[in-house]
Symmetry: C2
Subunit: 175 residues, 2 copies
């Protein structure tokens, strides 16, 4: 299947009809902002941060510590992930963002992005991947998504985000 | 007691013979680097990060999210702390750094810096302060220092920094 359709001139690999690429272009900042907003999952402050990470990467390159996997169908961004090594650790990585356009939910795009990120983290020497999420009911599907993929809940900071809204940290060890 | 001696033209408050100031000057980047290095506690990657936070603050102002308390004696930096609000939380703050020049250890400088930081965090609306540290034996005095000041160990991420080197997160709730 090669109906993914990538942006011209950018190196992509094709998986299940999606074009996956790592290279970051200036257009990605706006596309990521629109995509993250479209999920309805994030506050405007969170959307702003998602965009800032793309901009930081464009400005500073790999030294920014932010790496991306973009999934495109017919040249349109349908999902992306953002990860990076955690400074001052031997081989721990954060998976900062995984977001998929609602029209593509339940089609395996999120799973593909997580697998692709894990593979790239492993190649880069990463052996532990951390994901932080909230205990709010809204994130129940998110938590199940990661648990199905071998992430285990390792710690909880009570009232971290706000009263009654705790932060959970998941970890997955790569062999 | 007013033998602290602050830098000319910078607003400082005096406490136990030390001049405490919040304003950040270009000279602070190098002074912080030297100070953090002098403690012998931090890797060169960590020293670099300490300096980067000062530079980030100089470049972006309060929008950087990094705030400082510098403690000076006779115009020389003898200790400092760095803290800031945690993005996307209601009122949680990170206390990123507290470092004191070895010649001034066990004289209360660290405690003063923590108290001053807590006061400023409280004034800025912060209600929870987080501190992350390592389980390495080297950090045992650090852990006792925070425990004596009302910080409680809330979570632990095993092998976070490296195999056998866990990350502990302490929290203190401000009323």
């Amino acid at each position: 299947m090669r109906d993914g359709g990538a942006k011209k001139g950018l190196k992509s690999e094709y998986l299940h009809g999606l074009a996956l690429r790592e290279e970051v272009t200036p257009e990605d900042a706006r596309a990521v902002g629109r995509l993250v907003e479209s999920t309805g999952f994030f506050t405007s402050a969170e959307v702003e941060i998602a965009v800032e990470l793309v901009e930081e990467r464009l400005a500073r390159g790999p030294a920014s510590g932010y790496f991306f996997v973009f999934a495109e169908a017919s040249g349109e961004l349908v999902g992306y992930s953002c990860y990076g090594p955690i400074p001052c650790t031997l081989n721990s990585f954060d998976l900062y963002w995984v977001a998929v356009r609602p029209s593509e939910w339940n089609r395996g795009v999120g799973g593909l992005l997580v697998s692709a990120s894990e593979e790239k983290i492993h190649k880069a020497g990463g052996r532990r991947i951390y994901i932080e999420t909230s205990t709010r009911a809204q994130y129940e599907p998110t938590r199940r998504f990661y648990e199905r993929r071998g992430y285990s809940r390792e710690s909880c900071l009570r009232d971290f985000y706000a009263p009654g809204d705790d932060k959970i940290t998941y970890v997955k060890e790569l062999k």
